[in-house]
Symmetry: C2
């Protein structure tokens, strides 16, 4: 298949396995609820876009330990055979509730909840974070580029400097979801019908004896889709050569479609090249620019009214270069029917299974979110919806184009200030009184436990 195959089950942290062994030892297999959320938005983000859910559901549906993995576990000497037998039989049989991909979200709002027997819900922590944080981070950066580009062509060029194969592929997906026009990454076109764009490399120019020969060769090989890279030696000289070449190609029905400028002062070069092309009758040839761009560079080029028709944005988008990670977590919020909470300094969490209700104003703009316990009645639109029950998806994966439309509608419904690239006053997210009261109750229970007896907990009674 033309796909990246699923990651092995052993692509996880060692502690998941040692904890699982203890859970099985202690009979701790009651239902747990974990939630994934971002603790704090990066400094330059006014909102985030949820992405990666489909890959999480794929992972959960296909999770199993292969024979080779089980053999390795048996041979490594860290685990008991009865535990390895449990792993051999392990499948994900739990539930997932989540925000649809493309949904706008904010700090402390869960975007995904896993409800499953504790060992299952624990084991999947590492890969769930790995999938959700990367695509959400990329979508949240890419949407800023799309806002800056203001409807101009915007293409993901980032595969080469993405952090590995999966990052390259998934960033093409996440950036398209967030509003990019398409990608250069062929496999993303194969997998999700992301529109594909390509130009040419400097090496193509260099391999020819002279630049115009390279242009002519490429135009004849690609008569209907050619973008000429014109900055290898002298950008303006190359533009002039293209004008002459276009005249020679015209009788053969071949037209030059676009040029790309990849270095230098892009706004100034675009202006000069536009003049040269227009004077030579090539006013239909579009100008495309690239080279270490991010949302700020795109915004500046647009603000300068440079005659630029499109942007290639890569590395700085798909590494989220100004802040290449999200301060996120996947935390236990309930076990065996009882809400749980972490209180570590600066990392305390809201306990219990939660829901996010979003309110809209009269213009149907987002006016505020309410973070509540899952069973509290509240007004507004509940953002976490059932996605998987008993290990099976409730619906087939939506088309990526549909998720992209959802993301665009979400961004359009944001208060205007939040859509800007500069930091704005935070969007209002209210924690419901009942949730605050629950947090206090959990704290009191934990304090009693800290002071109390040292006997084993009732749910770990049969420990050897």
């Amino acid at each position: 298949m033309t796909d990246l195959p699923p990651a092995p089950a052993l692509l996880t942290d060692l502690y998941q396995l040692t904890m699982l062994q203890a859970y099985f030892d202690g009979g701790m297999t009651q239902t747990a609820a974990f939630e994934f959320f971002v603790r704090k938005l990066p400094p330059q983000r006014n909102f985030l876009i949820a992405a990666g859910l489909e890959q999480v559901l794929d992972y959960l549906e296909t999770l199993r330990f292969s024979d080779a993995e089980l053999e390795w576990l048996a041979a490594c000497g860290r685990f008991r055979q009865e535990f390895i037998d449990r792993l051999a039989a392990l499948r994900f049989t739990g539930d997932v509730d989540a925000m649809a991909e493309g949904t706008v979200f904010f700090a402390d709002e869960p975007i995904l909840r896993v409800t499953a027997p504790l060992p299952q819900a624990q084991l999947v922590e590492t890969r769930i974070i790995n999938l959700l944080q990367y695509q959400s981070m990329v979508a949240s950066k890419a949407v800023r580029c799309a806002i800056a580009a203001g409807g101009r062509l915007l293409v993901d060029f980032g595969l080469r400097r993405a952090h590995g194969a999966e990052a390259g592929l998934l960033s093409a997906r996440a950036s398209y979801l967030a509003g990019f026009s398409g990608t250069a990454t062929v496999l993303a076109g194969v997998k999700w019908d992301v529109p594909l764009y390509g130009t040419m490399a400097h090496s193509f120019i260099q391999a020819h004896e002279d630049e115009v020969s390279a242009f002519e060769h490429f135009a004849r090989s690609q008569p209907r889709a050619n973008t000429m890279l014109i900055d290898t030696y002298d950008t303006e000289a190359a533009a002039r050569q293209l004008v002459a070449l276009a005249q020679r190609l015209r009788p053969d029905g071949i037209a030059i479609q676009a040029v790309r400028i990849d270095s230098g002062d892009l706004a100034e070069l675009a202006r000069r090249v536009r003049v040269i092309l227009d004077a030579g009758g090539l006013d239909g040839v579009r100008i495309f620019v690239s080279g270490n761009l991010d949302e700020h560079a795109v915004r500046d080029l647009v603000a300068a009214q440079a005659p630029i028709d499109g942007f290639g944005v890569g590395t700085r988008m798909n590494t989220s270069a100004d802040y290449p990670y999200l301060d996120c977590a996947y935390k236990l919020q309930e076990y065996a029917g009882q809400p749980r909470r972490k209180r570590s300094e600066g990392k305390a969490t809201w306990p219990g299974r939660k829901q996010v209700y979003r309110s809209h104003d009269a213009q149907d703009r987002f006016s505020g979110d309410l973070l509540t316990t899952v069973d509290e009645p509240a007004s507004g639109e509940p953002l976490l919806r059932p996605m998987m029950r008993a290990g099976s998806r409730l619906e087939a994966a939506p088309a990526l184009a549909a998720l992209r439309r959802h993301a665009a509608a979400q961004v359009a419904a944001l208060p205007d200030a939040l859509r800007g690239l500069d930091p704005a006053a935070p969007y209002p997210v209210t924690v419901a009184d009942r949730l605050r009261a629950l947090a206090d109750a959990v704290d009191r229970r934990v304090r009693r436990g800290q002071q109390g007896s040292a006997s084993p907990a009732p749910d770990a009674p049969d420990h050897p």
Copy 2:
């Protein structure tokens, strides 16, 4: 197999395929030499560590288009059937010369050269950059953490916030190569025998009725390898509970090995916990800390003489958070026997196939590098060595532990100032006169070409 399977051939940029079609059209299949190098070190790096070569060689040895990929290419309407037939038969039959993984390198020094028929050498550009830039970036960040840790235990905790599956796996490899003690990522232990370390998660504590029950449960399940996470509720209270627990466990022959602190003022908490543990007779219990650490945080904790025995470092290392990419390129330097060069503003390259010679002083420290054409005799140690000929590896992949020893020796041989975390005066890299003269000659030839005739180049004579 317990491995990430190879990426599909279509994990590439669209332009590679359109350029290849033109190359085949034009009969441009003569030998090309491309080199991978870093244009400029990131602001906070005094040197870089080469990594990723083994994955590049794997990729080249197994490169082929699957039937499904060929069918997609035929159906997509962008390519002619005769080109798809060429792709079906395409294998990598070229040569690779490269620096050994773990070798220290600097700006403008090629760390890998591919010499192959032009279409092959071109096609592999995207994935070669994708593999070399990520692992070299991680190794170059990780080595700074290792220097800061000064021999203390240093474990990669980064899988969850790595950019996807491959980044998580390869960063475990690259950080171990660069001097980490090991990783939490199980699959890296499976694949490369990277030593595995694990502790426990906050969820393990939270799932129990009280903290001490969780500690006891874990100690009994893992009597010989347990690290207790003590910051879930109150770090000092947890340490005191551990002292009491240790006495109860002793008759059963169970000892607590270590504690982990993941939040708060790590130096101060480590001091207080050390006092509590020592007073309780647990002076053998080691203190391990984690939580958004990087080389600067590790250095500060060491400088503060905090009683810390080990560090877990993740996200900020494997995303290279202060600078999450290398300004690198894979550029055509020679085609059909003739040196080539790009002159784009700020991105000019040195033409031709090159070698890097490293000189040593009387103490066997590195004293300077010379960048030369490949055939120029020079003194010093040539760093690029034959790794692959006619598509086959010359030697089996070296053990990762051997590469790690090589990296350690390289770092030890650096001038002292370069090993510091702060920016130092650049290491001397000299460009040989002959290489400068060659660059001038190439420029003169290109200028003649720019001014010259517009006839097709001689190596593309049969173009339709």
